[in-house]
């Protein structure tokens, strides 16, 4: 198929940036979206132009590195996939595709389609861990039985890949789904109970400091999340937060 691509080009953080149109031809429906961009980039490089910069690594939907806002949707039109798993069979010959970076105050653009998501790391550093030493002197793994439903639910929350689609989709740029997922994973496991209060307070405070917006329950994040992280994680985090603030001092 032949396509017109309208892509956000921005030299660096200071540059104002603009949409630029490109044509690509002979795109196979079996290609992934990023392979289609590879074709464009080979074209650009061969003619001595700078390729479009975009983040990617695993190309199988697990590292969370790829992003992109495609035709107004984070990770594009398909559901339950990341951009690297999106296939060209979702598009038609002659389509014009708009490709922009994830936009949020807390995710400044570095270049073209690459954004800085280090705010997510800082939220995790504020409390996304269990304070146990890695010395190897822990008790036997089976000494703490965990009911299977709890373990499974914790696992579901833990599958967040930290991509930021939830933030990019939310009209308030809220990071509640991302934070809710981590808080939920630990809240569901006995190992996480000890520090539960500090964890939720510190992570939520850091989230606010980073400039993410408030949650107004539109539910858009859940729809776009490639890993199917559920809104119930946000509800659980709110409960945790409330009970932590009530019992604080």
């Amino acid at each position: 198929m032949d396509l017109v691509l309208k892509i956000w080009r921005q030299k660096d953080a200071e540059d104002k940036g603009k949409m630029v149109a490109y044509n690509v031809t002979d795109i196979s429906e079996h290609m992934s979206f990023l392979e289609m961009l590879d074709v464009l980039n080979e074209q650009l490089v061969s003619s001595g132009e700078e390729p479009v910069a975009f983040d990617h690594d695993c190309r199988e939907g697990i590292c969370g590195m790829c992003s992109l806002y495609i035709n107004g949707e984070a990770h594009g039109p398909d559901r339950g996939v990341t951009t690297c798993q999106l296939h060209m069979r979702m598009f038609n010959d002659g389509d014009t595709i708009f490709i922009e970076p994830f936009r949020a105050k807390a995710f400044p653009v570095i270049k073209d389609l690459v954004v800085d998501r280090s705010a997510f790391d800082r939220i995790q550093q504020a409390g996304g861990y269990i304070s146990v030493n890695t010395s190897g002197n822990t008790q036997d793994a089976n000494a703490i039985p965990i009911p299977k439903p709890d373990a499974d639910e914790a696992m579901d929350a833990a599958t967040c890949i930290g991509c930021g689609a939830c933030v990019a989709t939310c009209k308030n740029s809220s990071a509640m789904l991302f934070v809710g997922a981590k808080v939920s994973q630990y809240a569901l496991l006995p190992q996480g109970k000890v520090e539960a209060k500090d964890r939720v307070m510190n992570m939520v405070n850091q989230m606010d400091k980073e400039g993410f917006g408030n949650c107004t329950n539109t539910g858009a994040c859940e729809v776009e999340c490639p890993k199917g992280i559920s809104l119930t994680t946000i509800a659980r985090m709110n409960r945790e937060y409330l009970s932590a603030s009530v019992t604080e001092d």
């Binding site: 695993c58 190309r59 996304g128």
Partner: protein, 671 residues
Amino acid sequence: MSKLDSKIPKGPIKDKWTTYKDKIDLVNPANKRHIDVIVVGTGLAGGSAAATLAELGYNVKAFCYQDSPRRAHSIAAQGGINAAKNYQGDGDSVYRLFYDTVKGGDYRSREANVHRLAEVSTNIIDQCVAQGVPFAREYGGLLDNRSFGGVLVSRTFYAKGQTGQQLLLGAYSAMNRQIARGKIEMFNRHEMLDVVLVDGKARGIIARNLVTGEIERHSAHAVVIASGGYGNVYFLSTNAMGSNVTASWKIHKKGAYFANPCYTQIHPTCIPRSGDYQSKLTLMSESLRNDGRIWVPKNMDDVQAIRSGKLKPTEITEENRDYYLERRYPAFGNLVPRDVASRAAKERCDAGYGVNETGEAVYLDFGAAIERYGSEQAKLKGLVNASKEEITSLGEKVVEAKYGNLFQMYEKIVAENPYKTPMMIYPATHYTMGGVWVDYNLMTTIPGCYAIGEANFSDHGANRLGASALMQGLADGYFVLPYTIGDYLSDDIRTGKIPTDTPEFEEAEKNVTDRINQLVNNKGTKTVDYFHKRLGKVMWDKVGMSRNTKGLEEAIEEIQSIRAEFWSDVLVPGRADGMNTELEKAGRVADFLELGELFAKDALDRNESCGGHFREESVELDGEQKGEAKRDDKNYAYVSAWEYTGEPKDAILHKEELEFKDIELKQRSYK
């Protein structure tokens, strides 16, 4: 001739590690504050090492090329992690894990290292559970296990099909705790481009800030390389796009020997390639072989009908299917080790039985498992007269619970429903057993420079068993390196900070800058990918699943000429002082073009078939094992450690003879 000293502690194998730990020098906590350690890589190996070293009190600087340590390639591991817990009571033990690993590696690994790995394996699971890693559990609340290829016990722990992700997020959380305390300084989007030696010791690195393009000097008392494997030398592999050999290759050029580069694992169950635009291959976890049966049609007519779309695989009756692994290897069946399964698939496809257009695909079929699980569930639920549809639907649910995300991944890529029609799979490059040579302490031949995880050559010999890379990465990082590095650093408590305004740093930085300028100013006519694809094709065709003298000699020459062409004609647009993704790729491919040659040279030297390395000249000629790979213990029971002297073709071979005191050398039979 050799200065290789593996430093294996004396004494019985069971006691070596314990005795070693009792005797080594320690650094007292107050002094650790004055010691800096650089860790390159934040995968399972680097992440766990950085966290543990920081927790012990060292000042750690950690580097990764992604935008966050959580995105290291380890995140993609699917199937599981081994540990000799024997929770299933099926006869597992430290000794059995040790034995399986040495045998699975085709007797080309170092016994003492492997035994230590088996010993600490059980700690890993305890550690990860304490960190909140949500492993799969049984209904009683205890941990569940599955089994992997090449073994007869169930010792693999897993978290759905995302085990690597969960383990890496565990290590990442441990790192975060130390970053918050200021004990780890994290450098995301940084690429290490050289190691700096002062008085022969590793004392720092030169790194490029991938956002600003700045070249930075970082000093430390020791440098740990945890940069993963080099499977991308084949261009197409299951590795992440950015996985590279650069860090390992740079230390090689500064004096670290590179061991067994030709030992590569070609994984049997990957999604076949579909076109020239393909940028990477996707693994379908080996765990699928627990329940999936591998086959091709028995008759050529059926093969042709399938390829032309006239016949569906589900229409081929049982007697017309060739379950070739079950036929050839009745004892292990579909669970033979990876190298054996891959070669068997290639054998069938070379004979013309491949089931897709390219002729490079075999079936992985869940029909039988769905029926078996369905009937089991029907009984459990007391459904006496369950219909075929009901049974299928119940069975599909069980299969979905076990492998749901893998099935979804397959469907997204191939646009076929694997519950209803068998998957198509073909072998692909997946893992590299070879790597930087290290001694028992995990130190390279450069004093103070260590290599851990997939980057070193260590524990898997000529073939790695499934679920053992995660085990090794975490063992190295959490439980081995933190001890062994202390022994070395105990001499450095009075050294003080290493200055970076010295001639050694000056020179290293200049070399890095010169090379970058050369790439950017070359202004040739061909893209980086053009060269990478050509290299990949030579590697796959001539240094791939099956190798011979003629092909290897040709490969060496071809790689040399591609390399020469690369340096005269590569085109890297843009500038060096800012984000430049083509420049990043160019540097990595330049290193692959050197490694590829050494790789072929090593394969040529090893005129035996062992593990993933198959030489057509070395097969069994008769008897029960006719046609199987033939190992040559008399002449090749050694580790090949290559010393860099200027060009890959001039590399000097050093041999570490392998001694097997605790395991008898036998032919690997899975019949």
